[in-house]
């Protein structure tokens, strides 16, 4: 791979010294801007295709997962979302969608990365691997839901959290990319959504839409549950 990657520059190098000012004088701004815009459109199209195929592949899992989430929310369950880096921010956005929805009923959901004091206390005292597991020990119970967003599906702090969540009876939902990583094969993960891509960015974009669809479907199921209850009265 490194040989292939270096090939173009190796071809350029023999003559590069003849034109020392080539880069410095590169003023072809319009050509670069045209390339950038075309690249942006191509990547956006890839993202759209991936989001579309991911939703299609995950339709059944979304339906069953949302049904169980709705059952738990209805029974007083709550949702805890977490992840690392960009995925932590995406899991925070997902928790906010549940807790402060632009439309529909608010459901109890939190991000486990929200409190710096707790994160640094746990990271410093018991190790980074346990930053989420320890919070679940302190806060969660058997009717709750744990959602971890990841691109690798194998981060140690997330797998440790799922191990703890499963032990405590939580319903566990993993978002992963690539081939699903450890989430895909772990018995600690009840529902694993895999975005089949090698690009961290495209994976995260598709996961955001999956999370949205999960939220919307949870509300469909809650509406049915409420409808049944009204019918029984």
């Amino acid at each position: 791979m490194s040989e292939l990657a270096s090939e173009p520059s190796a071809q350029r190098e023999p003559t590069g010294f003849l034109y020392p000012f080539l880069d410095a004088e590169e003023r072809d701004q319009d050509s670069l801007l045209g390339d950038l815009a075309a690249s942006a459109r191509a990547k956006a199209a890839q993202s759209a295709a991936l989001r579309s195929s991911t939703l299609a592949e995950s339709a059944e899992l979304i339906a069953t997962t949302a049904a169980e989430m709705a059952r738990r929310f209805h029974a007083g369950g709550r949702m805890f979302a977490f992840g690392n880096g960009g995925s932590s921010t995406d899991s925070t956005t997902l928790a906010a969608l549940f807790a402060r929805p632009p439309v529909g009923q608010a459901l109890p959901a939190w991000s486990l990365t929200a409190d710096q004091a707790i994160l640094t206390a746990l990271g410093n005292d018991v190790g980074f691997e346990l930053i989420f597991a320890r919070q679940l020990i302190a806060r969660s119970g058997g009717t709750d839901i744990a959602v971890a967003m990841s691109t690798s599906g194998s981060s140690k702090d997330l797998t440790a959290a799922f191990r703890e969540a499963k032990r405590r009876g939580l319903f566990t939902i993993g978002f992963a990319g690539y081939d699903g990583g450890e989430f895909a094969t772990s018995s600690d993960v009840d529902a694993c959504f895999v975005v089949r891509s090698q690009s961290v960015h495209r994976i995260q974009e598709a996961q955001a839409l999956l999370g949205y669809q999960l939220w919307a479907t949870v509300h469909e199921h809650l509406a049915k549950i409420h409808g049944h209850e009204l019918g029984e009265q």
Partner: protein
């Protein structure tokens, strides 16, 4: 559906990047790369959706592609955002907002940007900000209030990161374009009216004012009274107009 939560599976996917938005992204990326090359820090704000500001910052600081340059980017969050941005930015920096057009804190930051000497990028959806509100407006014209949660903004700032790094592969284009005006007197370059923000009003009709060039003493007798935070148009050391909150910029 009884709850009025329609299926978004079609909408956001159809929301492909059109020619205009991709051109806006391209020019914003080149400007951002140029500012970074000149030493800028990228300050990210998203008052209603703070995780977006943090996501942008982590993209630039800790790139997902090994070997890409780590760049200074910071998410600013919490209360009194305008004051936090004011104390953070230096001339030449860039402020990126992810916010609706009516977000009061972001509108205030954008109005003050010229006085602070910063370049502005504004990502959002729904009704657009007034033309000229920010240097670069990257906008999804979809009024759906759920849009911030379905990945459209994530796509936009991922692309901004990716294109900015493409620009770094063209070092010859990273120095700013030569100034278009070389005439001795010119409306654009002369001291016709620069935006300034009052740091502190003083005695004798003078005030400490922050402009893109730094702090300066400005005569305020034409616009008295002034208080800290007021925006003034400064001409030849004299404040000639005080701008209302909504007119500045």
């Amino acid at each position: 559906m009884s709850l009025g939560i329609p299926d978004r599976t079609a909408g956001p996917i159809d929301n492909a990047l059109d020619e205009d938005l991709s051109a806006d992204l391209a020019s914003a990326s080149l400007v951002l790369a140029r500012r970074f090359a000149a030493g800028a820090t990228l300050w990210c704000v998203a008052p209603a959706w703070e995780p977006h500001a943090q996501h942008v910052a982590v993209e630039f600081v800790h790139p997902v592609i090994v070997g890409k340059k780590a760049l200074p980017a910071v998410a600013l969050t919490g209360p009194d955002l305008v004051a936090t941005v004011r104390v953070s930015v230096r001339p030449g920096d860039v402020v990126l907002a992810v916010a609706a057009a009516d977000d009061p804190a972001v509108r205030s930051v954008m109005r003050r940007a010229a006085a602070w000497g910063v370049t502005t990028l504004w990502i959002g959806s729904g009704a657009r900000p007034t033309a000229g509100s920010a240097d670069h407006v990257l906008w999804i014209d979809d009024p759906d209030p759920r849009l911030p949660a379905i990945g459209g903004f994530v796509l936009l700032y991922h692309l901004l990161w990716e294109l900015t790094h493409v620009c770094f592969e063209h070092p010859g284009l990273l120095s700013p374009a030569p100034p278009e005006c070389t005439e001795e007197v010119c409306i654009t370059c002369s001291d016709e009216g620069r935006l300034g923000e009052v740091i502190a009003p003083g005695a004798d009709g003078l005030a400490q004012v922050r402009t893109a060039e730094g702090a300066e003493l400005v005569a305020t007798m034409l616009v008295e009274p002034v208080q800290a935070g007021d925006l003034l148009l400064v001409h030849a050391g004299m404040a000639i107009t005080k701008l209302d909150e909504e007119v500045a910029r």
